[in-house]
Structures are given as C-alpha cells and as structure tokens.
C-alpha cells in the first residue's frame, strides 16, 4: 500500500497517470476508426458488394464521385448556411440577454433559471415539440395571427423556406441558452480593476463597455463561437424529427445525407470519402478558429504575468 503511494508520489507517475488512459482511449477508439475511414474511402465498397476486407482499391474514385455529387455539395453548403444563420443569432441573443441580466435586480434569478431551460431538453424532444407547435392549425400560427392581427397559416414543415427557418429556429431556441450561460459566466468573471480604473478616469459606461470590457471578453466570445459553430455543423436531430429532411431537400444537412448514403444507399466507401471531405472542410475552419483561440489565451497568459 505504501509502495503504491510512493509510486504515485513520483512526479512522472503522477502527471502521466491521467494522460495515459485518455490518450489510450483516443488511440484505441478513435484512431483505428480514422484509419478505417481512410481505408474504406479508397475502395469502392458498398455493403451489397462482398466484404470490405476483400474489396479492391480503386484509388480516389470515391472522392471524385463525392466532389461531383451535387446533392452532397448542396448539403454541405446548406449545413454551413444553417450554422451561419443560427450561430450569430445565438451569440447576439445570448450576449444581449446576459448583459440585461448582468447586475442584480428583482427577478434576475427567475429569468436566468428560465433561460437555461432549453439546453436541458433532449434535441429529439425539441424536434418533436416543435412539430406539434408548428402544424398548420397549431398554436404557433395562432400566436402569429394574434400578433399580426390577421390569419396566418404558414406551412412551417411543408414549405421550403419555412422548414429551413424551423430548423434554424429550433437550434436558436435551444442553444441560445448555452451562449447566454457562457456570456453570463464571462461577465461575472470580469476583473474589476481595469473597469474601476477606467471609471476613475472619467470614461462613460459605453466607453467602458466598448474599450475595456469587450476586449476582455474577446476570448470568451471566441470560445462561444467555436463551441456553437462546431455543434451547429452536426445538425441531425431536428431535420430528422421535424421533416425527414424535407420538404424536397430543404433541410437535408450533411449529417443526414451521409447517414442516407452510408446506411440507406449502402455506399459505404462514398460515405467515407464524403466524410473525409467534410472533415477537411471542418478542419480548415477549426484550424483558424483554434488559432484565434490560442492567440487570445496566450495573450491572456502574458498579460497575467505582466
């Protein structure tokens, strides 16, 4: 027992101990998977054609097919479009709400409790719930009619643009909660000295916000952008549950399309190639995003020292 303790006490053991299982998990679980993905993409295997370990190499054929597949490219573009529409909205709403809830006032606790609710709901439930609200003669149209003062009968789930709006709306509704949470945490954690200093120097509220607080918050904003955009690129549940990725292919995201190509059309190699294309696109995006994040964090560390 003491032997074990002493062993653990060594720095080398102590520091590497958590590292090994984590790296082991990645190495054993994700890395072979990735290799398999690359291998599969170099074949022209479909589930209906023998076994994958017997399939012949066909080089980059699957990649060529992937890049010539308009439906895939559209799905990719559409997914980025959804993310580009949903994420800024989430950030703006989350930031605005966090600002409004910044200082203590009566009712703050109530509001924050409510605002956090959506992210605790299973997206599948959100999808289902919205499908109930958004029916032709459902309560959502009823509310809209009340607000507009005339009958509104938008077919939210069976027309092109409305269905896309529904998917974006679902994402915004659910994940504004997270951006709100991140920004509330960020605002609560702002250091007080620089703000106080600025105030002493006679800066107005607006100036303080613009020149002091916002720069301080930049890294937090960066992580919010990164976390939300990488999740938004994975949208799968809402279209599946709301519209079966329809009408037409209005809400067919890349995740849904890959699901179909791989499992319904049995074209595994093509799905693998498309996955890799997707991975490259996402990697380019995340490379930039992570660079920004790293720069911000390093600057923070340097300032902290100084």
């Amino acid at each position: 027992m003491t032997g074990l303790r002493r062993w653990l006490e060594r720095e080398r053991v102590f520091r590497w101990l958590p590292f090994i299982p984590v790296q082991g998990l990645f190495a054993l679980l994700l890395f072979p998977n990735f290799l398999l993905l690359v291998y599969l993409s170099l074949l022209s295997w479909r589930i209906t054609r023998g076994t994958w370990w017997n399939a012949a190499f066909t080089g980059l054929d699957s990649f060529q097919r992937a890049l010539e597949d308009e439906r895939f490219l559209w799905a990719l573009a559409r997914t980025f479009g959804f993310a580009a529409a949903a994420v800024p909205l989430e950030l703006l709403l989350g930031f605005g709400l966090a600002l409004l809830c910044r200082r203590h006032f009566r009712g703050r606790r109530f509001y924050t409790t409510v605002f956090l609710l959506p992210m605790m709901i299973v997206p599948a439930v959100v999808g289902y719930d919205l499908s109930m609200l958004l029916i032709d003669q459902g309560p959502f149209n009823q509310l809209l009619s009340l607000l507009a003062g005339r009958a509104i009968t938008v077919r939210w789930l069976s027309e092109y643009t409305p269905a896309q709006l529904a998917v974006i709306g679902a994402d915004v509704w659910q994940w504004t909660a997270l951006t709100f949470l991140i920004f509330t945490s960020g605002l609560a954690g702002l250091p007080e000295d620089p703000i106080r200093a600025a105030r002493v120097m006679g800066a107005s509220r607006w100036q303080i916000f613009w020149h002091v607080e916002l720069p301080l918050l930049k890294p937090v904003i960066a992580i919010a952008v990164i976390l939300r955009s990488m999740e938004a690129l994975k949208i799968f549940d809402y279209p599946m549950l709301l519209t079966q990725a329809g009408p037409g292919n209005a809400t067919e995201t890349v995740a849904v399309y890959l699901w179909r190509v791989g499992w319904e059309f049995a074209r595994v190699s093509d799905a693998a190639a498309m996955s890799l294309v997707l991975l490259v696109v996402v990697a380019m995006y995340s490379f930039v995003a992570i660079r920004v994040l790293r720069r911000e964090r390093r600057r923070l560390a340097e300032e902290g020292v100084a």
């Binding site: 209906t48 029916i135 009968t153 789930l157 092109y160 009408p247 319904e264």
Partner: protein, 488 residues
C-alpha cells in the same frame, strides 16, 4: 500438418453427425394446416435443442407492433418461443438492417420489412433464403393471390413470407354523393354520374367538386382528396399514376424512361390534385392521414387498404358505413382504360442469415402468415396487415372488420397490381425519384426538370452498381408487371 489433418477429420465427423441429425428432423412437422405445422415444427425444434423457453430477437417498424404482438403471445404459449422485439421508424428499417449486414452480430433473428429493401439486403448477405424451410413446413403459399408472394423472391429464391397485401385502394364518401341535390349538381357540371372515378381526370373533378370552403378561408371544411405527399412516401403515388399512363421506369438496357411524356403528364396531374388536399399533407403518412379521413374531413383518399380498418372502426371513425371502396382509377391509353394499383409497401417476414435461431424464427413467420392466423391479423382492430389471400375474401372475420365490398374490390385491384422498383439499389432509386417529385410539387423545379433529374440520377446509380447486373434484375422484375388493363 498431420495435426491439422486430424482436426479436419474430427470436424468432418462432427459435420456428418450434424447433417444426419438435421436430416432426421427435416421432415414436415405434423399438422393439417400451416399454423399447426408451424407450432409442431417449433415444438420439435425446442425439443431438439433441449430448450423450454426461447426469446427471439426481432426488428419491427414501430407502427406494426400492437397489431402483431397478440398473435406472438399465443405462439409463445403454445411453443415457448417468444419475441423480444425492438422497434425502429418505418423508414429506418433499411438503415438498421444494413448496419446489421455489416455487423453480422446476430442481434436480431428476423424482421418485418418491405420488399424495396430486399434486393439490397440479399446482396448484403443479411436475408436468408428460406426455400428449404418453406418446403419442409409446407407453407400454404398456394392460397395467396398471385403477385404478392413474388415480392419476397429475388433471383429465383424465396427470402420471406408475405403478410400483407398493400396495393392501393381509393376510398370515397358515398354519403356525400347521395346527399340531396349533389348528384344532380355534379352531373350538370361535369356530365357524368358521380361515383367511383374511372380515370384520374374524374377523380380530379370529384375532388374539385367536393372541396368545401364555404367561408372562403383557405382552410376548407372538407377536403376533396387525400394521398401521401410526404418525403419518403409521395413517390409511390406518382409511380402508380405513371404506370397507369402506360409508363415503365426503364427500357431493356436500363435507360430511364421516366422523363417521357407519360411521366411529365402523370406528375402534372399528381401536383394538380394536391391542391385539394390538406395543407400539411407534405408531412403526413399513415398515422396522420387515417385519423384525418376517419374523422370525416376528406371526401376521398388513395392509400393502403388498411384505411378500411380505420374508416370502419366502430369507436374511432365518424364515417362508418359511409365509405365506398373503388377500383384504382386509371388513364385512357390508346383508346383503352388502363388501371394500375401499386403494391406500395407490403410487410414481409424476413429471416436473418446471422440469426441464432433461424428455424425458430421461420416457424413463427409461417405461423403469422398462415391462412388462419393471417385472417385474424387482417381482421384485427389494430391491424396494418391487409388481405392478400383468396381465403380472406370469404373469411367472416375479415369481412366484418372491413366490409365485403372492400375486400372484393381490394383483391380485384390486385389483378392490376404493379410492383415498386424492386432491383438492387431500390432505396436509392426511389429516394432520387422521391426527392425530385417533391421538389416539383413544391414548385422549385418544373415537372420536366424533376423527371430529367431523376433519370440522370438513376443513370448514375445504374452505372455505379453495374449495368449488366441491373439489366438482369430489371428483366426479372418486368415479369411482375400486370398484363391486364383492368381487372376482370
């Protein structure tokens, strides 16, 4: 080397012994009917394996469970073989089955699926040929109306037992036609006695006439027509109209023929009719459509025959006894009326190649699809199984649940029944079609473009799978198309 040889010889002996024992049990189990044979076969299987109870794993679309489990419980009481089923969405059967074809895990012994996925699942190695068991169990296939059991066959082998006759039927509201004055008004306007439409033009006229929006709100009190237009479903309704136009999806060299005149006209009619349907129809399938029709909200519906169960249900339906069941309408082609009813789903019991107990799974399938039990299933209050046997025509239970008229008309429709596109890659062919049909319906592209896109997508699929192979599959499928223009 020597050791390996010794091992081989032992293996050989074991194999011989096993073969001997199966040969001994490979006699037809006793019993006068297919269900009795299934039960005694299952009992013999349990005895041979030394089991007293057994739970088979089964994959089933969630919409089918309540209609099926009752009979399964009876089978379990008789034989000790029960079912532990897991449900999937009806459009996800293919995906889950494909993943099992890759996994080969034996996580389910058998499943209920549609004929569309069969070619792919055979090629993927998941579906197990059951000819040996069909012969042994003497399944009563001869009673089945021609055209149904063929859907469970592929490349000359039988892969499943058909449990469901899903060729479409048209239901209309006769009480509305008989309402005072309507008949005369209709005749004055359109020049024919309202009733079952013979052509799609006539159905359109009926739909137009009976769409009732007295307040002019755009939300009618009564919708003239219903059919499925949802993603994953709508293409079947177009295909049926296309067939009635005399259209065929491919020529003998697998060149797509959908983009021709027949296709475009059929698609235009398909789109035109949609304006008499409820607004949300683009998101609806059976679970939404049946209650809507049974609630008395629509004049007519073209759908699966189990609509009769919903429409004639004593508690749930507001239109009991008010429905008239019609032969599917058609088109006049070359001076002759051509009616076509598509076999638009059709439950089939399939056995998995990786099943732990394929034989037990087969016995249960034979039990469920036998003359007697299938009649009970077809007549059940929660049924999604539709009549597909000659004996269903006269079975009092079936007639009571569905009306005699309906069963007769349904089996007449079966005479002009055309299959969906059942060749390898069927799901992908159909999805491409479905997508484009719906885009045209939404007004995103023209009917011509939709079908041209479809043809282009189909060419791609054919080339990728291998044209020669597809030509063979198509040739085999062509034999399943009806030769009669109208039922006798």
């Amino acid at each position: 080397m020597k050791r390996a040889f010794g091992f081989l010889s032992i293996a050989g002996t074991v194999a011989l012994l096993v073969a001997g024992s199966t040969a001994a049990s490979a006699q037809t189990p006793p019993g006068g009917t297919a269900d009795a044979r299934a039960i005694s076969g299952a009992k013999a299987y349990m005895q041979a394996k030394g089991l007293t109870s057994l739970k088979l794993n089964m994959m089933m679309p969630s919409i089918f469970t309540a209609g099926s489990t009752l009979e399964m419980t009876i089978f379990e009481k008789e034989t000790g073989i029960g079912v532990n089923y897991f449900e999937v969405g009806i459009l996800q059967v293919q995906a889950k089955a494909m993943s099992e074809a890759v996994a080969k895990s034996g996580s389910f012994d058998f499943w209920i699926g549609d004929p569309i996925s069969l070619p792919d699942l055979v090629e993927a190695g998941l579906a197990r040929p059951i000819d040996d068991l069909v012969v042994r169990g003497k399944a009563d296939l001869d009673d089945i109306v021609p055209g149904f059991q063929e859907q469970a066959q592929y490349k000359g082998k039988t892969y499943g037992l058909v449990a469901d006759g899903d060729n479409f039927i048209l239901a209309i509201r006769k009480d509305l036609i008989e309402a005072p004055g309507e008949r005369q008004k209709f005749k004055a306007k359109y020049g024919w006695e309202p009733g079952c439409p013979d052509t799609y033009e006539q159905w359109y006229q009926l739909a137009e006439f009976f769409t009732r929006d007295p307040k002019g709100t755009g939300v009618p009190e009564l919708y003239g027509a219903m059919g499925y237009r949802a993603r994953g479903w709508g293409w079947r309704w177009w295909l049926q109209q296309f067939y009635a136009k005399g259209g065929m999806p491919f020529d003998d060299g697998m060149k797509p023929l959908v983009a021709g005149k027949e296709g475009v006209e059929a698609l235009r009619d398909y789109i035109a009719l949609t304006k008499f349907m409820p607004k949300d129809i683009l998101g609806w399938a059976t679970p939404q459509a049946y209650p809507f029709y049974a609630g008395g909200n629509a004049f007519s519906i073209m759908t699966y025959p189990s609509i009769a169960i919903a429409a004639e249900h004593p508690d749930r339906s507001k239109v009991v006894g008010k429905n008239k069941y019609c032969l599917v309408p058609g088109y006049v082609v070359g001076g002759k009326l051509v009616r076509r009813a598509i076999q638009g789903y059709g439950n089939i019991f399939y056995v998995s190649n990786y099943a732990k107990h394929p034989e037990a799974a087969y016995w249960l399938s034979q039990y469920m699809t036998s003359k007697e039990v299938s009649a009970r299933l077809v007549a059940g209050p929660n049924s999604v199984y539709d009549p597909y046997r000659k004996s269903h025509l006269t079975d009092p239970r079936v007639i009571k649940a569905r009306t005699k008229e309906m069963v007769e008309i349904h089996l007449k429709n079966a005479q002009v029944m055309a299959p969906m596109i059942l060749i390898q890659g069927a799901v992908e062919y159909n999805d491409a079609l479905d997508l484009n049909v719906q885009e045209a319906l939404l007004g995103k592209i023209t009917a011509e473009d939709a079908l041209k896109n479809t043809a282009a997508a189909w060419e791609k699929i054919t080339n990728q799978i291998g044209r020669r192979q597809q030509i063979e599959g198509w040739k085999a499928l062509k034999a399943a198309y009806p030769t009669k223009n109208v039922p006798d």
